[in-house]
Symmetry: C3
Subunit: 317 residues, 3 copies
């Protein structure tokens, strides 16, 4: 019945992505039709790192499909603190559940877990690695507001460390999207990410100032600049201030500009933006529900009776 | 479908209170009739402060109505520790759930949350502020044992800091109840609370010794005197000892006296009281289930098909 | 409807054990038949000590029977930290739930809890005391692989402190089993446990080296030797190394030898054993689901309509 794991967004083809987003659209249109679709199924939430929104979002998505969840709880309270290996932990838990959602501080953790278990594994963040369900809900938000072709997207803030950004940028190369990256010099996209984007033939440009491209953008995706990246606090405040947007900043933007943010935000989007039609970051967070429902439904075999099983492109060798 | 928020007990009218307590009585009489009444609904438990009994009680009440719950978990593990504002947190979570239960260390937190979200918010304690579902279960316990009119209630212990006490005292002014407050001088009701009670025309008297009024009481509501309120530990032990009751103390009371306590207790009620007919504090705790079921049912629109929507008096502007 | 508590494995008769294991076998054969058997029931998970696998296993087992669960959460966040007694805590929680699973650092905690509450209490570990559901799943694993009679079982590792070992050894005396205990001198079975085993007429022998008995064994039950038991770390490494098994060690064993471990393991079983047919420790962990489903089903009155209530031997006076 089940299809596969979801380990990384970069391995999803355009068809894979559109299949999940089409289903998310169906879920959003008629959630009641999905209410008991997976009754009798158990999903294990294994968060080796703290998480509020991702964990609650998967939890709610599961329950809205009739799936029960069991939660590993804090790592401090777990067998992990007794020295158990990740491979052992997931091999035990797969006996309790029909699928696993895994967040882990180490890059590659989800890949490793998928090698050891037979139930579907969903990567909910592995260190500086991937967070594919975030990417899918980002894409869904863009698609529902603008479609995914002939589009200009700006991505601003900390482009060096943000896994959300790297993952989204890679996924966007599947579509006809011009990508503009806006950041201070010190927080530019890593060389390897830039290289990979160029390899795909993506239309990519980098800027230090938002003003340069603001009026061309359909979507502005803002990320948080973290204080701990700066040795000098004054330098942090200067930089953070330059990449902060408010309602006034957006006066120069197209009326249809969609502002997104993976949240939590601290200061990078002023509260007065919340009241403008540009603000789509809460809608984006809420899209976690239909997108994760669609994802769980796909991985747990939610096809119509008689359909062929679909497979997702995630390579989990 | 939904009605409103529940932020404070002081804004509930006599009719509001009686409507919830009538429904709680129905729930208690026939819980099976409510078992699947809200299937497909999700309740978010957002406890920014630790809680065992309130959280578990809401969790169980929800599940006994067929409601699924999602839990924010500890604040240490949450986005809050990344500096997210309460307004942002609740605006994200409202996309996951059909109602929110909120406990927060800051007075006014629930009022603020209710301004930002559209789903019902239930205040489960906001600092030194309100805890209205506790008041409703206190009232239900009194009502089921004695009715709510022509009644003499004594409230004893820490009357200065206890939000439970202030809330209960205010709610009792809706009924024909004589209130006696028994405490050491240093832990008397705050001036503002006394003033508000007098404003309503309530029959209120204060005492330093339980003996003075014990034989007049229908209900004795005991609260814990906290060690940390006393700079001197000897002084604490002297005072706490004077306001401790045991089976012998209660020999002078009316046979029908009901002893209540919001729990947890430490030493203020001796274990030998547990075996007397006076002891109603475990019954009181258990009343959390039907009362919170009635409350959730009301807020989520549990009226019979065709009925007019009822509204609760909570002003959450 | 409900039957009783489950406090200790040592008080279960052979008939009690076989009744639960027969039901576990039925559950494993046809889990769907049990999927909604206890819908509308609530189980409270009260873990006063951290636990991953036991808590998740009970949680999943409950949900696979249609039982909802409520979780006490961490003790730090609970009323316990306000000085509430265990008796008060469980008396409050019994009003929220139809049964309690209790883990507590103090030996005898479950016995005490069972004296104060009317709903079934399941002991999920009380300090150095008992952990009967672990014993039942151990027995189920042995039974499904070899049956429970005319059997030779070796138990190796830390035999002094392991409650799992003491409980299993006692339970095995109900069956025709030869027991071999393999450990360093310093971690031998406690005198009192040896005495109790001899009293039952059990066939018991002790060894310092696995080689002595390996080829006679049907089952080898390995437990972890904990570093903290040794004042000297070198001594720990020497001893732990001697009682570590790998695929090469097992070359001398019978082809049908079943290797078990209560998990988590650290180093005592090498990963290369995982790929042999001997390895049954993940299967053993997974058996927690049908066994705990059978146990919950029994305690919550899962008999066919019209049947007499069965009782379990657990003496919880």
């Amino acid at each position: 019945m089940r299809q596969d794991h979801l380990i990384t967004a970069t391995q999803l083809s355009r068809d894979d992505i559109e299949a999940v987003l089409d289903r998310a659209r169906e879920v959003a249109a008629d959630p009641a039709a999905y209410a008991n679709r997976h009754a009798g199924t158990v999903l294990a939430l294994c968060f080796f790192e703290p998480s509020t929104r991702t964990r609650m979002s998967f939890d709610a998505a599961a329950k809205r499909l009739g799936i029960d969840t069991i939660d590993m709880g804090d790592v401090d309270s777990s067998s992990v603190s007794k020295g158990e290996s990740l491979a052992d932990t997931v091999r035990v838990i797969e006996g309790y559940a029909d699928a696993l959602v895994l967040r882990h501080p180490s890059e590659g953790a989800a890949t490793l877990a998928a090698e050891f278990v037979d139930v579907p594994v969903i990567n909910a963040g592995d260190g500086a690695g991937q967070h594919p369900s975030q990417t899918l809900l980002d894409l869904h938000t863009i698609r529902e507001n603008h479609g995914l072709d002939d589009l200009t997207v700006g991505i601003m803030g900390d482009l060096k460390y943000g896994r959300t950004v790297h993952s989204l940028a890679a996924a966007l190369t599947n579509f006809d999207v011009r990508q503009h990256f806006i950041s201070p010099e010190s927080l530019r996209l890593p060389r390897s990410v830039r290289f990979d984007l160029h390899e795909t033939g993506a239309q990519v440009r980098e800027h230090e100032e938002l003003e340069t491209v603001l009026d061309e953008l359909d979507v502005l995706y803002v990320t948080r600049i973290q204080k701990e990246r700066f040795p000098d606090e004054n330098e942090y405040h200067r930089v953070a201030g330059e990449y902060r947007i408010d309602a006034e900043t957006l006066a120069a933007a197209d009326d249809d500009l969609t502002v997104m943010h993976p949240l939590p935000r601290v200061d990078e989007i002023a509260p007065d933006v919340d009241d403008t039609d540009h603000a789509r970051y809460f809608e984006q967070a809420h899209n976690g529900i239909p997108v994760r429902m669609a994802l769980l439904d796909t991985l747990l075999g939610g096809d119509e009776p008689g359909d062929e099983a679909t497979t997702m492109g995630a390579d989990h060798e």
